[in-house]
Point group: C2
Chain length 456, copies 2
C-alpha cells in the first residue's frame, strides 16, 4: 500500500513549507493553548488513577482543577492565564455539551418505570429533609445570609449524584441488590424533584424586587419550554431520525458522514436550545436521545466487521451466530464509540475548569471550614434520614449513604447560585467542600457497610 | 444494566438545573460557534460527495469554503462573522495539527528508499521546468510584479500534491503501475526540493533591504532547526516512546489514557516546534512519527476484541488464527481509529476556512482570469515536460499529468506568500484558480489516459 507514504509526503511538504512562515511570523498566537490543553488533559487523566482506590474519576479531575486554580497561593502564577482563556472556556463548554450528548445516546426512558413506591418515599424524604435541615442549620450558622442564599443552600443539599452513587454499587458488584435498586430509583425521582425545586428557587431569586416574590409565570414558562423542547425532540427522534438515517445510508456509508451528522445534530440542537432560552446541554441531551444508535443501524461499519465476518466464514453456524451477535452489539454501540475520543478530549477540560473555580483562600477562615464541616454533616444526615423510610428487608444505612454523594450535580447547583449572584465566595466554597466530602467519603463508607452486610 | 439510566438521570438533572441559569443569563456568548461548526462540518461533508465523481474530498471542502467566503457578493452577509471568529480560527489551526499528527502516525520512512533514478529525473525537471516557466511567463504577463512575487509564483508551480495524485491512481486501481511508482517517487523528491526552494525564496523575501539579498544563514538555520527537530523527535521516538508505552500500559490500560497520551504528545510537540520557531504542524507530524501505533501494542484494547475471542473460542484453529490476525491488525490501527473522529471533527474546518480566503471579486477583472488560465497552462506544461524524461517503457503523458495537481500544497504556498506580504490579491487569486484547475482537471484526464492505455 502506498497510502501511508503518500500522505506522509504530501504533509511533510506542507509542514516544511509552513516552517519558514512560522519562522517569519512567530507562529499563531493561540499556539500556547495547545500546551494548556495538553497539560489539563494529562493532569486530569493521571488524576483519574484514583479510580484504583474506588474513587470516581470526576473527583480526581475536580481536585486537579482545585489545585491548579489555587497554585497562585503558592506564588505559582503560570496557570492564571488559563482561568481567563476564551479558547479553554469554549472547549470546556463544548465538553459538557458532548458529555450530555453521549449520555443522551446511552439513555433509555423505559428505565423510569422500574422506579417503585419505596424509592419514591426515599426520594421525597431525601429532598425534604436535606432542604429543611440545610435551610435551618444554614440560617443558624450564617445569620448574615439572605433568604435566597439559604434557599440555594437547601436546594443544593437535595442533590444526588446518580452517576457516582450507581458507580459505587457497580464497582462493588452490588448493582442488582435491593438497596441499589431503591437508591437508583430514588435518585432518579430526586433529580426530577430537584428540577422543580431549582426552578422555584431560581424564580424566587430572579423575581424583581417588590414584584411580590415568586413569579408562577416564570416557573411554568421555564418548565414548559424545557418539557416542550424535549418532547418535541423526542417526537422528532421517534419519527424523523430513522428516516434521516435511512436517507443518509443511501447516499453515503462512511463513518465520517455518520460522525458528522451526529455531532452536527448535537451542536445544532444545542444552539436551538439556546434560542429557546435553555442551556445548550439540554439541546445536546435531546439530540442524543434523538440519535440513539438504533437509528444508525442502516449505516454499514466499513472497518472491522467485514474482516471478522470473512475470517469466520468457514466456522460452524453456532460460532458465526455468536460473532454476528458481538458485531451487532458493536455496530449498535458504534456511534458512542465514535463520540468517545471527542469526550476524552473535551469532557475532562470541563471538570478541571470547574474545579479551578474553587477559591481556597476562603479556607483561611476557620469559621468557613467549621461551617463547611457542619453543612457536610447535615448533608449526610438528611440523606441517612431518607434511608429510614426505605421499608423492611433492606439495610437502611446502605440506602441512606447511597443517596449521599452530591457530585458534579451539587457543583452545578453552586455555580448557578454564583451565576445568579446570590452566593458569596464563602458559601460557594462551603458547598464545594460539602460536595467534595460527600463524594469522597461515601464510596469507602458504602464499601464498609456492604462488606459488613455480606459478613452478617 | 442500570448504567444508561444512571447517566441519563444524573444529567437530566444537571441540564434541567442549568436551564434557569441559561434563561437568566442568556447563555454563553460562544453558543453561536456551535452553529457555525455544525454548518461548516455538514457543508464540508456533503461537498465530499464529489468523491463519487472521482474528485478528492479536499476539493469539495475548498469549493464550499470559496462559496461561503464569497456569498457576501450575493448580499448574503451571514457567513462574514465566521471569517473573523477566533474560535473557528483556533479549531482550524487545531485541525491541521491533528491531520499532520494522523499522517505522522501512518508514516513509514522506509518508503523513501523505493525512490528510483527515473523518479529523481522526473522530479528535477518537474521542479526546474515549472519554476522557470512560471517566473518567465509570469514576468511577461505581469510586468508590474516584483521579483519576490515572481519567485513565489515559480515556487508555487513546483508543488505536487502527492495525496491527490496518489489518490487518483488508487481510485483507478493503478497504484502498482510503473507510471504510478515513478510519479509517486518523483512527488516525494519534489516535496523535499520544494522545501529547499521555499526556504531560499522565503529567505530572499525576508532579507532586509540593502542587506545584499539572500542570507545563507537564515536558510541553513531554518533547514537545520527543522531537520534537527525532526531527527531529535525520531531519535526520541525510537528509544523513548516504546518505554513510555510500556510504562503507561503498566499503570493504566484504558483507551482514554491511550488517547490522552497520544493527543497530548501531539499538542506538546506542536508547541515545542513553535518554540523552535517552526510551524506547530511540524511538531504534530514529529509526534505522530514518535507514536507509531506499534509503540502502543502493549496497550490492551478492552472493547470488542475480548468479546470476539470468546465468540470464536470453540471454533477450529484455522478460524481462530484468522480472527486473531484481524484483531491484531485492528489493535495496530487502534490509535489511528481513536484519532479519526477528532480528524472528522476538525480537519474539514481547516480546508473550508482555507477556501474562504479566496476573494472572487478579483475574478471580475478579465485580465486576472486570462492570466490565471495562462498560468494554469504553464502549470500543466511544466509537469508534462517532466514526464518526457520518465524513460522508456512507460506512458510519459500519464507520468506528466500525474505530477500536475498542486492541491492544498499549492494553497499553503500561496498563503505563505500572502502572509509574507509579497503576494497581491490578484496573484493570490490567480494561484488559487491554477490550484483548483490543476486539481480538478487532472483526475478526469488521467482517467482518460489510463483507459486509453488499457485499450491499446
Amino acid at each position: 500500500m502506498f497510502k501511508p507514504s503518500l500522505f506522509q509526503w504530501r504533509w511533510t511538504f506542507a509542514l516544511f513549507i509552513l516552517a519558514p512562515l512560522a519562522y517569519a511570523s512567530g507562529g499563531g498566537a493561540t499556539t500556547i493553548d495547545f500546551l494548556w490543553i495538553a497539560v489539563l488533559l494529562l493532569l486530569a487523566k493521571f488524576s483519574s488513577l484514583i479510580e484504583k482506590w474506588g474513587q470516581p474519576a470526576v473527583l480526581g479531575e475536580l481536585l486537579v482543577g482545585v489545585l491548579l486554580g489555587n497554585l497562585v497561593l503558592l506564588g505559582v502564577l503560570v496557570f492564571e492565564p488559563v482561568k481567563h482563556d476564551e479558547i479553554i472556556k469554549f472547549l470546556a463548554e463544548l465538553g459538557v455539551v458532548i458529555l450530555l450528548f453521549q449520555i443522551g445516546l446511552e439513555s433509555n426512558i423505559d428505565e423510569m418505570r422500574k422506579v417503585g413506591v419505596r424509592a419514591f418515599m426515599v426520594a421525597v424524604v431525601g429532598v425534604v429533609a436535606p432542604f429543611g435541615l440545610g435551610y435551618w442549620v444554614g440560617g443558624l450558622l450564617m445569620p448574615e445570609l439572605s433568604t435566597n442564599a439559604l434557599l440555594f443552600l437547601g436546594a443544593t443539599l437535595t442533590a444526588t449524584s446518580v452517576g457516582i452513587t450507581g458507580r459505587v454499587f457497580r464497582d462493588l458488584g452490588k448493582l442488582q441488590t435491593k438497596e441499589a435498586q431503591i437508591v437508583l430509583g430514588a435518585a432518579v425521582i430526586d433529580d426530577v424533584m430537584g428540577l422543580i425545586i431549582l426552578a422555584v428557587v431560581t424564580a424566587i431569586v430572579m423575581a424583581p424586587p417588590g414584584s411580590g416574590g415568586i413569579s408562577i409565570g416564570a416557573i411554568s414558562q421555564i418548565s414548559l419550554i424545557a418539557v416542550a423542547f424535549l418532547a418535541g425532540a423526542l417526537f422528532l427522534g421517534q419519527w424523523i431520525a430513522p428516516l434521516i438515517g435511512k436517507f443518509l445510508s443511501k447516499i453515503h456509508t462512511g463513518v465520517g458522514m455518520k460522525f458528522t451528522i451526529a455531532i452536527s445534530f448535537c451542536l445544532i440542537f444545542s444552539y436551538l436550545a439556546h434560542l429557546a432560552g435553555l442551556a445548550p446541554i439540554i439541546g445536546a441531551f435531546a439530540a442524543g436521545l434523538m440519535l440513539e444508535t438504533v437509528h444508525f443501524k442502516s449505516f454499514s461499519d466499513p472497518t472491522i466487521n467485514q474482516e471478522i465476518k470473512v475470517a469466520v466464514a468457514e466456522a460452524n453456524l453456532k460460532t458465526r451466530t455468536k460473532v454476528d451477535h458481538v458485531l451487532e452489539q458493536h455496530s449498535e454501540r458504534h456511534l458512542d464509540n465514535l463520540m468517545a475520543p471527542l469526550g476524552h478530549f473535551l469532557v475532562p477540560i470541563f471538570f478541571v475548569v470547574t474545579g479551578m473555580q474553587v477559591d481556597l483562600t476562603t479556607l483561611s477562615d476557620p469559621k468557613v471550614v467549621g461551617i463547611a464541616l457542619a453543612i457536610t454533616a447535615v448533608a449526610f444526615i438528611g440523606k441517612i434520614v431518607a434511608g429510614i423510610v426505605a421499608g423492611p428487608g433492606v439495610n437502611k444505612y446502605i440506602v441512606g449513604w447511597g443517596m449521599a454523594p452530591r457530585g458534579e450535580v451539587g457543583l452545578i447547583f453552586a455555580m448557578i447560585g454564583k451565576g445568579l449572584g446570590v452566593m458569596s465566595e464563602e458559601l460557594f466554597s462551603i458547598i464545594i467542600i460539602m460536595v467534595i466530602l460527600t463524594t469522597l467519603l461515601t464510596p469507602p463508607i458504602l464499601n464498609y457497610l456492604l462488606r459488613q452486610q455480606k459478613a452478617a
